[in-house]
């Protein structure tokens, strides 16, 4: 299993900073989304943005979104091309985009691995339909992970900060998510059907039902406890999703610097080493830069 820093995907390749992120087509940039998704086969702003950044031509596509097209798609100069990670929120077209281009598909929410399951299960079913191998390194999920000496101490140390995050910091205006044209008709149909059938309650709705520490743990929003507890649950989570990349969220809400350092250190020393061999039978090379694949001794 690979563990990466959450929130910022930034790697250094031969001195060229490669920033991979949803800059061009984020829901918070609805202007870029008006006009609808681009049809298959057309230059895709996700990749174009990444590739443009690889060429260090940062200004050309920055913030352009789907509403602006360049005359010619930028071309990659690195060989082999660096891995590309594509964040997605369950749109069917993004599954296909990642799978057919051998890109990583990252479902990055604050709602944890159980909530991620419906999206990632759908991703793997689509992989089967397209005849793509279920390589766990082709997907990622985000997860709050909070480690302390014991389960009870984890609660004592982190509960206040976790509740601060979920109660105070999650006020994202839903208009950013539902801007007209952000989802294709096909994906809108898919999401609406699941919602009306009751098989897909939004993470926001679940939070409204009054989640506390126990509920957040039970629902998988957070994985918290002693190193043993976290190791077991994180491995089970990864295996249940068939996902080998965890975008770790080690700082939560109002947690201070010292506590975050403690969490990071405990994770790195007590949890991460035990998980290195999980999914080691799979090839990570299409989805990780070659230079980062050396495991430090």
């Amino acid at each position: 299993m690979r563990v990466g820093r959450a929130a910022v995907f930034e790697w250094e390749l031969e001195g060229v900073p490669v920033e991979l992120g949803p800059h061009g087509a984020q829901p918070v940039e609805p202007v870029g989304c008006v006009g609808g998704p681009q049809p298959p086969g057309r230059w895709n702003p996700h990749a174009a943005h990444v590739e443009t950044r690889v060429r260090t031509q940062a200004t050309a596509a920055h913030g352009a979104g789907a509403g602006v097209r360049l005359g010619q798609p930028p071309r990659l100069i690195q060989e082999p091309r660096p891995p590309v990670w594509v964040p997605g929120g369950g749109s069917l077209e993004t599954y296909d985009f990642a799978l057919t281009n051998t890109y990583n598909y990252s479902y990055l929410s604050f709602y944890g691995y159980k909530y991620a399951k419906s999206v990632l299960d759908s991703f793997w079913r689509r992989a089967d339909e397209l005849g793509v191998e279920r390589n766990p390194f082709q997907a990622a999920f985000a997860q709050f992970v909070l480690v302390s000496e014991t389960d009870e101490k984890a609660r004592q140390e982190y509960e206040e900060h976790v509740l601060y995050f979920y109660n105070k910091c999650m006020h994202i205006n839903p208009r950013y998510v539902e801007a007209p044209g952000y989802r294709s008709a096909r994906s809108t149909r898919n999401v609406l059907k699941a919602r009306l059938e009751g098989t897909n309650r939004s993470g926001r709705d679940l939070l409204k039902s009054g989640f506390g520490w126990d509920e957040l743990r039970a629902a998988g929003y957070i994985i918290a406890g002693s190193p043993e507890t976290v190791r077991a649950e994180l491995e089970a989570a990864a295996r249940s999703l068939n996902v080998a990349n965890v975008a770790l969220l080690l700082q939560v809400g109002s947690a201070p610097h010292e506590l975050t350092c403690k969490n990071t250190t405990l994770f790195a020393t007590e949890v991460m080493p035990a998980l290195r061999e999980v999914f080691s039978e799979h090839d990570s090379s299409p989805f990780w830069p070659v230079t980062t694949q050396r495991v430090p001794q």
């Binding site: 006009g35 609808g36 681009q38 044209g181 008709a185 809108t188 609406l192 009306l196």
Partner: protein, 276 residues
């Protein structure tokens, strides 16, 4: 009443229209607004005196090509191509909301193709002193705000349709795609230069407005009236933006009276100088 038929028309190499046909009589082109063609009995009421051709906007329902239509000009061109293929060289055009903007574009760009123009709560003009509410800031669950009486059954059903799950999904997807199609030509500022072309409209024109419409407020209606030669205004005081759904009977009577009235001479200045 005869059930509507649906026909598919490839207008040009970019756009395929799904066209619903209601009623019988002289041809009439109806261009829908927010919500697509799900406007209750309104089209049947119009169809009592006209053969109503109601295409869905590109990207909505069975119509395709939204990605390929790059400008308001190309959008209007697709509708004009459609009129030729439907063998409607000169026709009455009724447009609601974003459909009103398209109708006005058609009448301005090809004055001789439109013999009557009825704009129902039309969008497409931006008046700084009277900007109106932003329709794209509404969540789908807030679409009842298009209606004057947001608690009415028709308003609540617009945001939360009844029926089977598949029927509800289809209606909501149609509404979402209609909003997307409208956004392409109205967002963020609903001004693609229509005000600079309105002088070319020669057709007798009716503006039908809801007195409580906060999306097309009185200032916008007045801008249309002053921009189109000899336009007349008919206001339904208690209605909001969704006149075809809120007041279908009253609106159809207003339109019947306008469409069936003696055709006055086209605006002389435009007649002489603005033939396409």
């Amino acid at each position: 009443m005869t059930a509507p038929t649906v026909t598919q028309v490839r207008a040009n190499e970019r756009v395929d229209f799904s066209v619903r046909v209601h009623g019988s009589g002289p041809g009439l082109l109806y261009l829908h607004g927010f919500g697509g063609l799900a406007c209750g009995d309104f089209l049947d009421l119009l169809g009592r005196s006209h053969t109503v051709y109601a295409p869905e906007m590109p990207g909505v329902g069975g119509s395709t090509g939204l990605d390929e239509v790059r400008s308001t000009w190309e959008l209007a061109l697709a509708y004009h191509d459609l009129l030729q293929l439907l063998d409607l060289p000169e026709v009455a055009v009724v447009g609601h909301s974003v459909g009103g903007m398209i109708a006005a574009e058609l009448a301005a760009l090809w004055p001789s193709s439109v013999n009557r123009l009825a704009l129902v709560s039309p969008m497409g003009l931006f008046v700084e002193s009277s900007p109106g509410d932003d329709p794209f800031a509404l969540l789908p669950t807030e679409w009842c705000q298009f209606f004057a009486d947001q608690d009415s059954t028709v308003a609540r059903r617009f945001a939360d349709p009844d029926g089977s799950i598949d029927e509800r999904v289809t209606l909501l997807v149609d509404r979402a795609t209609a909003a997307e199609a409208a956004a392409k030509f109205l967002f963020p500022i609903p001004d693609r230069g229509l005000s600079r072309r309105l002088y070319r409209v020669t057709a007798p024109t009716l503006l039908a407005a809801g007195g409580l419409d906060t999306f097309v407020p009185a200032g916008v209606v007045e801008a249309f009236r002053s921009g189109i030669p000899h336009a007349q205004v008919s206001t339904v005081p208690e209605a909001g933006h969704m006149l075809p759904l809120e007041e279908p009977v009253q609106l159809s009577k207003i339109l019947d009276a306008f469409l069936g009235s003696v055709v006055p001479a086209r605006h002389p200045a435009a007649e002489g100088g603005a033939r396409a």
